[in-house]
Amino acid sequence: MRYIDEFRSGELASALQSELEQAMPSGRELALMEVCGGHTHAIYKHGIDELLPQGLELVHGPGCPVCVIPVGRVDDAVALALEPNVIFTTFGDMMRVPGSKGSLLDARSRGADVRMVYSPLDALELARANPEREVIFFAIGFETTAPSTAVTLLQARAQGIANFSVFCNHVTIGPPLKAIIDAPELRLDGLIAPGHVSAVTGSRVYDFIAAEYGRPVVVAGFEPLDILQSMLMLVRQLAAGRAEVENQYTRVVREQGNPRALEAIEQTMELRDSFEWRGLGSIPDSGLRLREELADWDAERRYEVPGVSVPDHKACQCGQVLRGIVKPWECKVFGKACTPESPIGTCMVSSEGACAAYYHYGRSRPKRGTVAT
């Protein structure tokens, strides 16, 4: 296809690379965060990290839905899965995330009925097909995924499917970014914002980063050239002393997002006072729970869950990786005790995790252009 051929030919890539080099303000070191794990993978898959000019560093962000779920919530999921008569449904990526008492996969080997689903609608279908069983759906994800859970809940209510409930772990993208920018340990000059979550939220959720923090943001698509172009847009803003929210991914993302999707979330969910994130601690107004009207479909109201905050495995540095202050290869267990086959932390489990990206694409040491933090 056109883009990839041009990218492969190296001509357009090297043109963009030299534009990037020229755009770099001299003598400055710039750190840009790619918020989304999908971007992290595209960057390493296509070797974009090797095209960076001197002084430009990419920092990985928290945009990996599986990675940010803390140990305590995994333990809650395992407890729910072990309830009698329950079919516990989950996206495949969550199956192998270790809790303090094992993963959902371990729970399955202990007799729990844990099943992978592709869509929350498939979980609802299971409930319909098994009226004598209780089906719980482990809902995770940012605003990209929350509308799907929301519509599924509305269908469950409309169709009176009472043996279906949702263990809601949906999160919002704005508050963790605020927490990361507020943290004194990391200096960030600009953000490459995730494309598909922005298709739901619109680009305006990032306005506060430009307005209150004076950092430029560019919403980017997932193709290699999208990412290179968005870096160029950020560097140009920084060189000119501008801090604006720009949208590189105009073919999908609109300023106002997808109003129907936002409305579905609004109808079914509300903000929790605070939600615990792996590595980021408790962040106010960052997690969603089901509204009171949907209490009958809320697994947290229908079952006892431990609800305890549990610290990460001692050797695991996922928390620091998610905050951008440790590179995966700096973690002591990376590629040794912690591998995709036998993961200790979420960043190695998820196909969007930064550690998995480094591992799969053979990055075990700093590449040129990166600055060790």
């Binding site: 869509s119 995924t145 193709e223 073919r251």
Partner: protein, 91 residues
């Protein structure tokens, strides 16, 4: 997980319930069109995420994105495998 995959709507299964069948990388599965503005039409290209059409996209972009996604290899293959598995039970 936040990956949206371009798919073409090939059949409207239930107009009122906003259920359509989409063809995704050679696999057909039912998707919900409840998040789309207006009525879904056969032939339209949409971005599919966990069984929902998240938004419409135009055909040319869809083709380019699909090619790039398949070139991404593993992540795309994994997403497609999930859809394929789910389609066996749900289609």
């Amino acid at each position: 997980m936040c990956l949206g995959i371009p798919a073409q709507l090939v059949e409207i299964v239930d107009r009122k319930a906003k259920v359509a069948k989409a063809e995704i990388g050679g696999v057909r599965r039912t998707v919900s069109c409840a998040l789309l503005e207006g009525e879904a039409q056969v032939g339209e290209w949409v971005l599919v995420h966990v069984g929902f059409a998240l938004d419409r996209i135009d055909e040319e972009q869809a083709a380019e994105t699909l090619q790039l996604l398949s070139d991404m290899g593993e992540a795309y293959e994994r997403e497609l495998a999930k859809i394929r598995e789910s389609a066996e039970g749900a289609a």
